[in-house]
């Protein structure tokens, strides 16, 4: 940080950010995209804001004291835009009411030696991995503004203080504003070092300020990728071979060429065909009637039954097995145990099902390629664009548009960008917007991977847990997505989330003899990071089985857990908090029963207590009490929104979430057979936020993981039945107990 090698003018930034400076000016006027995207080459020159100086990469100050804070991570609903702006503004000491934000483009980041760091927005890391350098960005800018004022007054900087965008010379009481000294500050060298505020002095971090991006979401002005309209733009609808790894064999373009609005029918890579028309509806209508022949390839017979058998084999096999955590001698512990219990759990493929289907808009010429798209990782989108464009990355750029949901689908995968550029390349000079139908989106996901898990636990005479053996069998995400970030031995550490001996996803219990293994079994279905990733499956396995062991030991599930948590005080604190607030130990109400779950994940400590009734087989979740210790809490009201929302995601997954395979393709096609939870089913959620300070944990994902196990444990309390597979919709909870146990 600090001394930046390159500083560009605001005008130059706007021009590059919108048109990449080489005559690609389209005269864009895109409502809702902020000044950056409105400014094409011509308009940037006329826009007075374009003359506003960049103090440093993170901060631009206009003469009217408007503060523009640059945000590298993507806003997709999780509130990171507001949270990151709070971090910068805290150190900047600016007037929060005058803060706006803008995205730099990934191309601009590359040109400036990645001054904004990573654009990747996943793994709940927007704030937890950039809090340090974005705060320093604000602090550096503040120092430069103070220095400019001190220079103008001819006084020492030490005699000046900044607050609320006003700089005061303390001995004389003279004041000036950031807007007035911004131009001079921009000319200064950045200080070599800055000291960040002590957390006790924070004024904005920790405040439940309103989101910066709400108003345009209330009147239709917010532009999402699907809403983009460029001059002369055409629309594309696409269909890829529904069988994974299958290919496009042929299509009969003549059959649809004369349909209304149709411009072209083109192959896309080796597995898809697209119709390009004036409107998307015309393109889709033509695509629906287009005769297509597929070469379905080697996986045309893949079914859920095949996959089930593959995973069952992995539960007991010695082949391709990796160890994620080992301690003591679990074999001996289980042999000498006074009592053992065992169980097998299963978790299906699930779909991200973002409300906004995949889409991207591309414009290709022999000189340049520009892409506009909702993405969780602008830099990865840029790489995909450049590769598909067949152009050097320096001749390409990506303009990030607000996401209609991400949940991991739009981070590691930019198949929709690759497709859009491949299509646009066949219509040089014409912008083309590619939008997937919901059915296409369902058929070509990157699915929350399927796993099964067998667990064996041993208890001593006192009912204390002395040994635990865990065997996960199933799909690795990294093996498919990022093989280079796997262990030297080929292990996928992500598969062990929640079982690690230490770190951001450590197990919350001390078990004297422990063995956690993963038999990697990779069906030919593309897996992906899905909000929460493997902690969702693993928390069901461990937290439900711990409940089973408590029952086997004849102990209260809270008391049983507590004996294993002496060395995990922060986990214990969140568990105790939900137990206390929910009234654990006292009756919950007529026909209502409670279940607990606790995990450490994405660097945060979370727990939940669910209150559930089961009436004639119908499960109803009445109340969730959820506690989170994220270390530092930047915006409590947004954390509350994320925690509430995480239960919608987690409970949808528990109640309904399942993709099955038949004839090599995903069976589910839309929200009728891939159901999601509705408002009517939503329980009351009581959020306990207990930031203990000293670390930065994630927020967007952790509490999803406790949703399902807390409810499953409550179902056991209500019915005496252990439900060991997800989703619940398959189960008849009104059946006799013996069928379920």
């Amino acid at each position: 940080m600090i001394r930046e090698p390159v500083k560009v003018s605001r005008r130059e930034f706007l021009i590059r950010s919108t048109t990449a400076s080489t005559g690609f000016a389209l005269g864009l006027t895109l409502p809702g995209l902020g000044p950056m995207a409105i400014a094409a080459e011509g308009s940037a020159a006329e826009d007075p804001a374009a003359e506003a100086p960049e103090i440093n990469a993170w901060v631009v100050i206009q003469s009217d004291d408007t503060v523009v804070i640059r945000i590298a991570r993507s806003e997709m609903g999780q509130g990171t835009l507001t949270g990151l702006a709070q971090l910068v503004a805290e150190e900047l000491e600016c007037d929060w009411s005058k803060v706006t934000t803008e995205y730099p483009t990934p191309g601009e980041n590359l040109r400036r030696d990645r001054v904004w760091g990573s654009f990747s927005t996943g793994g709940s890391r927007g704030i937890r991995e950039s809090h340090d350098y974005v705060r320093k960005g604000g602090a550096v800018a503040r120092q430069m503004l103070i220095e400019a004022a001190a220079d103008a007054w001819g006084v020492p900087m030490a005699e000046c203080r900044a607050e609320n965008s006003v700089i005061t010379h303390l001995p004389t009481g003279r004041t000036t504003t950031y807007g007035k000294v911004a131009q001079a500050a921009a000319e200064l060298w950045a200080p070599e070092q800055v000291v960040l505020k002590d957390p006790k002095d924070w004024k904005l971090i920790g405040k439940p300020v309103k989101r910066l991006d709400t108003l345009d979401k209330l009147n239709g002005k917010q532009v999402f990728g699907t809403d983009l309209k460029l001059p002369g733009m055409l629309n594309a609808a696409i269909r890829a071979c529904p069988v994974f790894t299958g290919k496009l064999e042929s299509f009969d373009a003549d059959a649809v060429r004369n349909m209304p609005g149709v411009h072209a029918v083109v192959p896309v890579l080796d597995n898809a065909v697209a119709v390009i028309a004036d409107t998307w509806w015309q393109a889709k209508a033509a695509l629906d009637t287009l005769p297509v022949t597929w070469d379905e390839g080697p996986h045309a017979n893949l079914s859920s039954a095949n996959i089930d058998a593959l995973l069952d084999e992995g539960l007991t096999s010695d082949e391709t097995v990796f160890v994620g955590n080992a301690k003591g001698d679990v074999t001996q512990a289980l042999e000498t145990a006074a009592k053992t219990a065992e169980a097998v759990y299963a978790y299906p493929y699930q779909h991200h099902a973002t409300m906004e289907p995949m889409n991207a808009t591309a414009l290709w010429t022999e000189e340049r390629c520009e892409v506009w798209c909702p993405t969780q990782n602008g830099e990865a989108a840029l790489e995909a664009a450049a590769e598909a464009a067949g152009l050097p990355i320096s001749r390409c750029d990506v303009h990030k548009i607000h996401l209609g949901g991400g949940f991991g689908r739009r981070g590691a995968f930019h198949d929709f960008v690759t497709q859009a550029v491949t299509i646009a390349k066949q219509l040089p000079g014409t912008p083309v917007k590619l939008l997937w139908s919901r059915e296409e989106d369902m058929a070509h996901g990157h699915y929350h991977p399927i796993t099964k898990c067998s667990l064996v636990g041993g208890l001593d005479e006192n009912g204390d847990l002395i040994g635990l053996q865990v065997r996960i069998s199933g799909q690795s995400i990294l093996a498919s997505v990022r093989p280079r970030s796997m262990g030297d031995d080929g292990a996928d550490p992500v598969t062990f989330q929640g079982f690690h001996p230490e770190g951001d996803h450590a197990i919350s219990y001390s078990v004297p003899n422990l063995l956690v293994e993963h038999a990697m079994r990779n069906p030919p279905v593309p897996p992906g990071f899905w909000r929460g990733v493997n902690i969702n499956q693993n928390a069901v396995y461990l937290e439900c089985f711990i409940d089973e062991l408590a029952h086997a030991a004849g102990k209260d599930p809270l008391a049983f857990r507590r004996t294993l948590m002496a060395d995990h005080p922060k986990s214990l604190a969140v568990l105790d908090a939900v137990a206390e607030k929910s009234g654990w130990g006292a009756p919950a109400g007529d026909g209502i029963y409670r279940g607990l779950a606790v995990v450490k994940t994405f660097g945060s400590y979370v727990a939940a207590c669910a209150e559930v009734s089961v009436d004639q087989g119908r499960v109803r979740v009445h109340r969730i009490v959820a506690a989170t210790d994220p270390g530092y809490a930047v915006n409590p009201q947004q954390i509350e929104a994320q925690v509430e929302g995480s239960f919608v995601y987690g409970l949808s997954a528990l109640l309904y979430g399942e993709c099955t395979l038949e004839n090599g393709a995903v069976v589910q096609r839309n929200f009728d057979d891939y159901r999601c939870m509705l408002l009517a089913e939503m329980p009351k959620v009581e959020v306990i936020l207990m930031p203990s300070g000293g670390f930065w944990g994630g927020i967007g994902e952790p509490t999803i993981a406790v949703a399902a196990p807390a409810v499953l444990n409550a179902i056991f309390a209500a019915t005496g039945r252990r439900v060991r597979s997800v989703p619940l919709r398959h189960l008849d909870l009104s059946a006799p107990v013996t069928q379920m146990a």
Binding site: G77, D213, W281, A353, G404, E644, G645, S646, F671, C676
Partner: protein
């Protein structure tokens, strides 16, 4: 040719009558606040008002409408974007990603027109839109707050 009334203005369009209203709004009239989510009338992202009732526009052929049916989209809900539902939504920071929210707001506004003081059951029955970010509890509180705002407005 279709004759419609959109947000209080008469509109004449050259369009295939089988085209769903959603795509006419989005692609021919530039009213992109109304969203495509499922295309089968399930998720509610495409909700608009027709003669004051919440209707899912993605499965409604434009040929079923004429200039005597009043279509209102999120862009036309309130001239100053100050419908009680919009005010309540701003107060409670309801949206997360925001994609489903125009449909959610239109569903909530239609519910309040029919039930000025909706019970929990009426809210649950009246708002069946899907939100994957999970704003349901704030939506519920937002509707209750909007009902209060509406009542205050009528009293004053």
């Amino acid at each position: 040719m279709a004759k419609l009334n959109i947000n209080g203005s008469p509109v004449e369009l050259d369009v295939d009558g089988s085209t769903p209203l959603l795509w006419v709004l989005r692609e021919q009239l530039g009213l992109t606040g109304t969203k495509y989510g499922c295309g089968i009338g399930l998720c509610g992202s495409c909700t608009v008002h027709i003669d004051g009732k919440a209707v899912r526009s993605c499965t409604l052929p434009v040929s079923s409408l004429d200039e005597h049916r009043n279509v209102v989209t999120i862009e036309g809900l309130a001239a100053e974007d100050d419908h009680p539902v919009q005010q309540a939504w701003a107060e409670l920071d309801v949206p997360q990603c925001g994609y489903c929210q125009p449909g959610m707001i239109m569903a909530a506004a239609a519910l309040l027109a029919e039930h000025p003081e909706p019970s929990d059951g009426e809210i649950a029955a009246g708002v069946t839109n899907i939100c994957r970010c999970g704003t349901y509890n704030r939506v519920r509180r937002g509707i209750q707050l909007a009902a209060e705002i509406q009542k205050r407005g009528e009293a004053s």
